[in-house]
């Protein structure tokens, strides 16, 4: 097959918005020529060497940039590729994109550069998916997880489940295809035990999704407590800015304020909320409802109690609503009164207990939400769907078994389970099944 004529495309490689720098990529055979047109009377940059260039459009200087030119096939996409790093002003970017399009390129569709990389064999599809995760990674642990996936840790975990399934499938198949051989290949009881074991394993894998999602998408934490317990002060301290307005007047915070910081290697979005009290103010009442709802949806709740006032009846009632949640009770303003024995006290004013709180949070996140760095986890929706439908099919096969249906019906669901898992591990082939049977049993008249 002759090489397909490919078009030259252009796309911003960084999110559009105000930033220090932004990168625009031009991919395709005309990339170098376009670069040359954009940098009149300046030499064409050597491949893979960063060069300082003035971009001139219609005789007018657009920006002073750094350009890197990659020659096919030694580029991300495998094509001729130019990367222009300019200043991160949306107006500049738009003008550059328009100029490049005027010079014969077309705007790239979403993901088109990566598709070209796949088509040219620079990366495979699973890697492409992980690349998407890497791009979205906001913390080092997230990036590490994406890299681990690239190396197939998840596949290995799923492979163990696949092996167990292969054993059961092979024996059930043998019971159908070689029923005259005088073997009891597998009892219904043993089938049930093996499948229940597999379901448990699959559920553990599903559990990693929760952690995987926390790692890629981050966590939410809510600061909750009665009015004037010091919630906004704590938020400002954690964020390190005067994000929330702090006054001695109870009910100052009405709507929810959110800021994201890194805890335990994960991005944690912390929400400051309206103080909990019975209020006749309609607006404040709405804010209080929102606070309670946010706490019920949050991964973590920091429940603040004024150390001077101690735990009130209202605090007890509020905490009772949160028994299912992951709650850390913190006594604020501990410079004014000591917290009860064994409880964590902080004072933002004296900078007391803040480190303890931070390391407690850090530990909690690492322990319960982050993925141990050496383990694997499901990180994307496609993987989650695969494992979830595997679980569903396994449960259906157990139901068929319980209903007294014979091997072939149980197998219908087991193959479904195996095929779902196959998205992570590679499918179970018919030859593997036969090989397993013939290696374990003496078959053949």
């Amino acid at each position: 097959m002759t090489a397909e004529p490919i078009e030259t495309i252009v796309a911003p490689a960084t999110p559009v918005g105000r930033s220090a720098l932004a990168i625009v990529r031009i991919d395709g055979p005309a990339a170098a020529a376009i670069l040359q047109s954009l940098t009149p009377s300046q030499p064409l940059a050597e491949p893979r060497v960063a060069a300082f260039r003035r971009i001139v459009i219609a005789g007018e200087l657009l920006d002073e940039c750094v350009v890197v030119r990659y020659a096919s096939p030694h580029s991300y996409t495998g094509n001729d590729l130019v990367e222009i790093t300019l200043h991160g002003n949306p107006l500049l970017i738009t003008r550059l994109l328009r100029a490049v399009i005027d010079l014969g390129a077309r705007a790239a569709e979403a993901g088109e550069l990566t598709e070209r990389a796949v088509l040219n064999g620079k990366i495979d599809l699973v890697q492409a998916e992980s690349v998407a995760s890497l791009i979205a990674a906001r913390t080092p642990l997230q990036a590490k997880l994406s890299l681990t996936n690239l190396e197939g840790m998840l596949s290995r975990t799923a492979s163990a489940i696949r092996d167990a399934l292969l054993q059961v499938i092979a024996r059930l198949e043998a019971a159908l295809d070689f029923s005259e051989e005088g073997y009891d290949f597998i009892s219904r009881e043993e089938t049930r035990e093996k499948l229940e074991g597999a379901v448990a394993e699959v559920r553990r894998l599903v559990e990693t999704y929760r952690r995987g999602r926390a790692t890629t998408e981050g966590l939410t934490a809510v600061i909750l407590g009665r009015p004037n317990a010091g919630k906004s002060t704590l938020l400002n301290r954690l964020v390190g800015t005067d994000r929330a307005i702090v006054t001695p007047i109870p009910g100052t915070t009405r709507d929810i304020l959110r800021e994201t910081i890194e805890i335990g290697g994960l991005p944690v979005t912390i929400a400051d909320t309206a103080g909990l009290r019975a209020s006749s103010d309609v607006i404040e009442g709405i804010g209080i409802d929102r606070a309670r709802n946010a706490a019920l949806r949050a991964d973590l709740v920091l429940y603040l109690i004024d150390a001077e006032e101690g735990e009130s009846e209202m605090d007890r009632l509020e905490l009772a609503q949160l028994v299912e949640r992951d709650v850390i009770v913190v006594y604020a303003k501990s410079d004014l009164a000591d917290p009860p024995v064994g409880e964590l006290g902080i004072s933002v004013r004296d900078e007391r207990g803040i480190d303890t709180l931070l390391s407690l949070l850090d530990e909690r996140v690492r322990e319960r939400y982050a993925i141990p760095e050496s383990s694997s986890a499901i990180v994307n929706e496609r993987q989650r769907e695969a494992v979830a439908s595997c679980e569903e099919a396994l449960v259906a096969s157990l139901a068929a078994l319980g209903d007294g249906l014979d091997e072939q019906m149980i197998l219908v669901d087991l193959y479904r389970a195996a095929n779902s898992l196959g998205l992570l591990t590679g499918a179970i082939t018919r030859d593997e099944i036969l090989a397993e049977i013939f290696s374990k049993f003496c078959i053949g008249k």
């Binding site: 198949e173 295809d177 005259e180 091997e407 019906m409 018919r430 008249k445």
Partner: protein, 651 residues
């Protein structure tokens, strides 16, 4: 001398017979070349047809207008449905046959076709014109020319028989080998491989004491294979079961060095699922005994076939092993077991039509393609015959999908995956097994055969009648409410069904706990039309209707899955596709070039071709298609409907 036909069939075994017959049915003049006229339809190994998955193949052959089912019904002396206790889709009919009567039945069926000419002789080479094969040259110099040539040489290509240390040229006891035809195949660029198979000793019936063996009876009511048969006419007989033990195993171990498979005398690969007794003893040393089925070779045949101890050990060891079996203490061996080695063509080199890629007009079927088994051979012979017919008529080939027939699964496996050992059909090779039950075979395949003009009026009439009976019973059951009286409600309650409101008869029949006979007895009184429709069904048809009602959920799910997969079958890969694409590993490129898949679906089944690779192929096929679109090459073929297809007919 040159003789002109439309099609030349080389070989008169199970593949050759089907191929010749179906081409004649399609109106072609056929030459069937065989070394020995009397060997047509001969059962080289066990005297039985069918079994698990294999029985389904026989039914498929019958539904497509083939002869194997008919010949079996005319010669069967013990019929049994295997897996009776399991779901309908994995039940497989099997029949012990009278070996001689089977062969005679095949001959009689071929003799009834005036367009089949049997030519006795040995083929020495193929007539090749450029890339096309135009017939054969016989050893005596006669040339047979035709537009298509179907080679079904079984185990006869450069075949060598082994019995202990003794080697004899030949493909079957007392029959010579075809020594030169392999050269013609190689000259066409085909790669040949070598396989091995074996057969057990036959003992003289009168020297055996059956009282020391277990009886192995068939079904009380033998059920015919063919839609043309109402009943089995021959008397039915018993088989027996005995076992090997310590003595036999010790004897085999002591003499292992004299077994050709172990002495290095045979290097070819034998089938894993049909190991010789020496293999069983070595590989499964912990097994204390191995089953031996003692099968009559015929109603009046003097020999018994010892199924389970195929061997190429020397005769003196075979004597010892046989006499160690309970009941065989004084047995006399009538013919010793032997192994046979033969050339085969790795089937990756074939198109899904069984035509050789790069050998226009040349079709291969049966053991030459690396399969084993009469049924596998016959199904290939039939499909090769149909495709040769279509080739001669210049019409669209017939490629059965994997969700349509076991024959489709088998041929797709062969041409996509190739094979390293003799290939046998198993139900587990089919991913949509529930759709491939014997009960639905006429519905699935007969309309196809009818469209191709392969069914005679008798077959058509019987098929249509069967489908109508099953359809009306099913529809009535699904549409009719049963208002149970108190008594009925009570016994249904005993079966665990709480029936306070009314339900359709179909819904009640879905429940495994419901006794259908009893339910029909209630219907006799309350719903006489429905009861009559059910009473009209044969036992076999009733089972078909019941299985459809009972497993409809599973069946529909498999149909959906199959339909989804079928989409990729429709994405054709151009014949001149170059696979050296970025993103595909060298191994994958090599495999794709070897198999040259016709569709994306087939490509996805090649071992080692990953889903990612299929995505890459898809992108390239799509890109290429975009480029050629607008050239206006549309080849819409008009499809003649079959009278067996009725609007809204179930599956």
């Amino acid at each position: 001398m040159n003789r002109v036909f439309d099609v030349i069939v080389v070989g008169g075994g199970h593949a050759g017979a089907e191929a010749a017959r179906i081409c004649a049915r399609g109106g072609l003049r056929v030459a069937l070349v065989t070394m020995i006229r009397d060997a047509i339809g001969r059962m080289s190994c066990n005297p039985a047809i069918g079994g698990l998955a294999k029985g389904n193949l026989v039914k498929e052959i019958d539904a497509l207008g083939g002869l194997m089912g008919e010949a079996t019904d005319r010669s069967g002396i013990q019929f049994k449905i295997l897996n009776r206790s399991k779901g309908p889709a994995v039940q497989g009919p099997r029949a012990q046959c009278d070996r001689d009567l089977y062969s005679l039945a095949v001959r009689a069926i071929l003799d009834a076709e005036p367009d089949v000419t049997i030519v006795e002789g040995a083929v020495s080479s193929l007539i090749v014109e450029g890339h096309a094969v135009r017939g054969t040259v016989l050893v005596d110099g006669t040339t047979l020319t035709g537009r298509a040539t179907i080679v079904t040489t079984g185990t006869f290509l450069r075949s060598l028989m082994h019995s202990g240390e003794v080697k004899t040229r030949g493909g079957r006891f007392g029959e010579p080998s075809a020594e030169t035809l392999s050269n013609s195949l190689q000259a066409l660029g085909l790669r040949l491989g070598r396989l091995k198979t074996g057969t057990p000793p036959r003992v003289v019936r009168d020297s055996v004491d059956f009282r020391r063996m277990e009886e192995a009876p068939g079904d009380d009511r033998p059920r015919p294979f063919s839609i043309l048969s109402d009943r089995i006419a021959l008397p039915q007989v018993l088989c027996h079961l005995t076992y090997t033990g310590d003595v036999a195993h010790a004897l085999i171990r002591t003499n292992l060095h004299r077994a050709p498979m172990y002495s290095g005398q045979i290097r070819a690969t034998g089938p894993r699922y049909c190991p010789s007794i020496e293999d069983k003893v070595v590989r499964f040393a912990e097994k204390e005994r191995h089953q031996v089925f003692v099968e009559p070779e015929g109603l009046d045949h003097p020999w018994l076939y010892l199924n389970g101890i195929s061997t190429s050990l020397p005769p003196d060891v075979q004597d010892g092993v046989v006499r160690s079996l309970p009941g065989m203490e004084h047995a006399v061996i009538g013919r010793y077991g032997y192994a046979v080695e033969y050339d085969f063509v790795n089937p990756e080199q074939l198109e899904p039509t069984l035509q050789v890629r790069g050998g226009e007009g040349l079709f291969l079927a049966g053991q030459i393609n690396g399969t084993s088994g009469y049924e596998e051979a016959a199904a290939q012979g039939l499909l090769a015959g149909i495709n040769a017919l279509q080739h001669v008529r210049e019409e669209e080939p017939l490629i059965l999908r994997r969700d349509q027939a076991y024959a489709g699964v088998m041929i797709d496996d062969l041409v996509t995956l190739g094979t390293e050992e003799p290939y046998r059909m198993f139900t587990s090779r089919a991913e949509h097994r529930l759709l491939l039950g014997c009960d639905s075979v006429y519905e699935r395949l007969s309309p196809i055969a009818d469209r191709l003009g392969l069914l005679d009026d008798g077959r058509k009439r019987r098929t249509a009648a069967r489908l109508n009976r099953m359809r009306s019973a099913t529809e009535l059951a699904e549409a009719t409410d049963l208002k149970p009286d108190r008594e009925t409600r009570e016994w249904l309650a005993e079966a665990g069904i709480d029936l306070t409101t009314q339900a359709t008869v179909g819904r009640l029949m879905q429940r495994h706990a419901v006794d259908v006979e009893r339910l029909l007895a209630v219907c006799d009184v309350q719903l006489p039309n429905l009861a009559a429709a059910f009473r009209d069904l044969t036992e076999d048809e009733l089972e078909g209707v019941m299985s459809r009602l009972r497993y409809s959920g599973y069946i529909e799910r498999q149909q959906r899955e199959a339909a989804k997969l079928a989409e990729d079958e429709d994405v054709r890969i151009p014949a001149d596709m170059a696979y050296e694409l970025p993103g595909l590993s060298r191994e994958m490129v090599e495999k794709l070039n070897r198999v040259r898949p016709v569709s994306l679906g087939q490509a996805s089944r090649i071992s080692g071709v990953t889903p990612a690779a299929v995505s890459i192929l898809r992108l390239h096929v799509r890109q290429r298609k975009r480029r050629v679109e607008g050239s206006g090459a549309s080849n819409a073929t008009s499809r003649v409907p079959s009278s067996l297809e009725v609007a809204g007919a179930g599956r």
